[in-house]
């Protein structure tokens, strides 16, 4: 089965996510004066992720691809919004958005991987998927460091938004090519 399109689009997602993640943690830490406040922001992320998963669950089988596209669009908007955040409440709000997107991305990615593989022949494909997404993350995080040093953390947020937008488009294009299987 052909899952190259999934691996490619999700490698772009990990490129976008891997680029931002470690620096995003630093950014959040600088917002609060305490680790407890920092912890709270992450708790909100997990709560929204858990809650949204239950809303997605009954729709996942039918609308996997749409949900995957939506997660990338949501992350793109969150990345565009971060540089303009001026209060902790906004951070909490964006954590809610990002928690929801994370649930959508993780669940639809797993579904599509399962849908496009067969029991007994999944190992190689899952291995490939993990390899390419991890390697993308590695390149991204090195690039991210240089981008912040050269420009600013905001430039990193914008670049990440661009990549999320691109991954949404890549998945959407596949869906148009074959609305049923996505291939």
């Amino acid at each position: 089965m052909n899952v190259k399109w999934l691996i490619r689009s999700q490698s772009i997602v990990t490129l976008a996510a891997g680029m931002i993640y470690p620096y995003y943690l630093l950014f959040l830490k600088n917002l609060g004066n305490s680790y407890s406040k920092y912890g709270l922001a992450f708790a909100v992320f997990t709560i929204s992720s858990a809650a949204v998963s239950q809303w997605i669950a009954p729709r996942l089988d039918r609308q996997g691809i749409q949900i995957l596209v939506l997660s990338s669009v949501g992350m793109m908007l969150a990345m565009l919004a971060f540089p303009w955040v001026t209060s902790y409440l906004w951070v909490i709000f964006l954590q809610v958005v990002m928690g929801s997107c994370s649930a959508m991305q993780k669940m639809s990615e797993r579904l599509l991987l399962a849908d496009h593989t067969e029991s007994g022949a999944r190992g190689t494909i899952i291995g490939s998927f993990h390899f390419w997404t991890s390697v993308s993350s590695g390149f991204a995080v090195i690039l991210g460091g240089y981008l912040i040093d050269w420009l600013s953390i905001n430039a990193l947020f914008y670049t990440s938004a661009l990549l999320y937008g691109f991954s949404a488009w890549a998945v959407w294009r596949t869906r148009i090519a074959n609305p049923v299987t996505g291939e």
């Binding site: 001026t86 490939s128 590695g138 390149f139 050269w150 420009l151 600013s152």
Partner: protein
């Protein structure tokens, strides 16, 4: 195969990165200051939080024969804020506003409070800081220790706005210092680079916030002194002023533009005094400044763009508090093995043009990468023992991009010493918070009261509890 090549590429990239980043200025386990030069191991860095705790640190340092260095934002660049194997007291968390009396226009703050903290407190009451640097990120304690100056041309240097402060001295006593109490210490601690004790809190006098109209004028270096005396200094309504000299190769050290802030009482303050919280256009301006740093065409482009920008800003209305929180983010620089370092020369008004001509020759001969020169005006003020304003002077604040290797530093030092010789020849002085490039002889020529300063240091702190590299490099004898 494809996977193997990709993984190899990633590993190779990490390896190359490790080699590039393996320089002394990037060592996270050593302490240095903004310059990233001469990093050393210290005993520990302690965040100052409570008076009791600070007393305890002094006692511990005395008992264990350790030295104490005092740090604010660590923007001093000559090792003023740390010393090998000593304790570094980081005062940036000791930052409460202790009291504020709007009617008397007086504020008392802990030494780690920044100018921004003060501006945020006093702005709603229509008040403003009298003298500070052009950016508001610095701590009050640090600014006092370097006797800072800024764009205000009517209020002198920072020492003028300081009423009193409390000092934690080498014996672990807290004493009040003002022009009447322990008065001997007042001119020593102000511009004393942390050698006489820990400044705990400071009482400052404030002034009215007001509305300015910003205007800009273009002129040449030769015309500037006359322009300043006839059109700026003599116009009592101009309260703030600064100028820039072109570093663009096409107009190298010939063209200038000046920005004046003229009081406009007709505009109501409350319509324009909301404090600006964020910096605009950081990404494009930072990119442009990178070009300015790296290429000749970048310098030409940056100069053209800034002169064009300021000509579109004629008559812009701005509150004093907003004018005193100038942008800084776009100049942040984290180049590995290289850094942007400041140097500052004070030149008497009548000597300005001639000094700049000689300065230009040295810069060209020594091939120094100068990124920006801002000119401010400081009134004569000799109250501080290590005073730089021996007469009414222009301060030339020069930002250089410099490689940090020992060899390149030696070459740069040679150039800086030639510039200081020229400054001295023009009855000028240089500023002490920056890297210790000037020779001991140059320091002694520029600061003739050095003997008195160090004698008093020995008298007030005979065991040299408070220690830094400024003392070590310039004590002499």
């Amino acid at each position: 195969m494809k996977k193997g090549v990709t993984l190899f590429l990633l590993v190779a990239l990490c390896f190359v990165n490790y080699r590039i980043l393996d320089t002394r200025d990037q060592d996270p386990f050593l302490i240095t200051d903004y310059s990233r030069l001469h990093p050393v191991k210290v005993e520990r860095v302690v965040e100052g939080k409570e008076e009791e705790q600070l007393l305890h640190i002094i006692k511990e340092a005395r008992d264990k024969n350790l030295t104490v260095s005092i740090a604010g934002q660590r923007h001093s660049q000559g090792g003023h804020t740390f010393y090998k194997d000593g304790i570094v007291v980081d005062m940036t968390h000791y930052k409460k506003i202790i009291s504020f009396d709007p009617a008397a226009k007086i504020i008392r703050v802990q030494a780690g409070a920044t100018w921004k903290d003060i501006q945020d407190t006093v702005n709603p009451y229509g008040l403003s800081v009298k003298i500070m640097q052009s950016q508001n990120i610095f701590t009050v304690g640090g600014s006092i220790s370097i006797n800072a100056h800024g764009r205000d041309i009517r209020n002198g240097s920072l020492i003028k706005s300081v009423e009193s402060f409390r000092l934690l001295n080498t014996n672990g006593e807290i004493i009040q210092v003002s022009r009447t109490e322990n008065a001997d210490l007042f001119p020593l601690v102000l511009g004393g680079y942390g050698l006489f004790g820990i400044i705990l809190d400071v009482t400052l006098t404030l002034t009215e916030d007001e509305i300015y109209r910003m205007t800009s004028d273009a002129m040449t270096v030769d015309e500037y002194s006359k322009y300043f005396l006839n059109q700026v200094k003599s116009n009592k309504d101009i309260h703030m002023h600064y100028a820039r000299i072109s570093v663009a190769p096409d107009r190298f050290l010939t063209d200038m533009y000046a920005i004046n802030y003229t009081v406009d009482k007709a505009v109501p303050l409350n319509e324009h005094n909301a404090l600006k919280a964020t910096e605009d256009w950081v990404i494009p301006t930072k990119l442009l400044f990178h070009f300015n740093r790296s290429f000749s065409w970048g310098k030409n482009m940056f100069w053209d763009l800034q002169t064009r920008f300021f000509s579109t800003q004629q008559n812009t209305v701005i509150s004093r508090n907003n004018a005193m929180r100038s942008e800084s983010e776009f100049m942040e620089y984290r180049g590995v093995g290289k850094n942007d370092l400041l140097q500052e020369y004070f030149i008497p008004v009548d000597q300005f043009a001639d000094f700049v001509h000689h300065f230009k020759t040295i810069l060209q001969q020594e091939n120094m990468n100068l990124l920006n020169i801002t000119v401010r005006y400081v009134n004569q003020d000799e109250e501080a023992t290590l005073s730089y304003a021996k007469e009414d002077m222009f301060a030339l604040v020069c930002l250089f991009n410099v490689p940090l290797t020992d060899q390149e530093q030696q070459a740069f030092k040679k150039g800086i010493q030639q510039i200081i010789d020229e400054a001295i020849r023009h009855r000028g002085t240089y500023y002490l918070p920056y890297v210790a490039y000037p020779s001991l002889e140059q320091f002694q020529a520029v600061y003739p009261r050095y003997g008195e300063f160090f004698e008093k240091k020995d008298q007030y702190d005979p065991e040299h509890l408070f220690m830094n590299y400024f003392y070590e490099q310039y004590k002499g004898g």
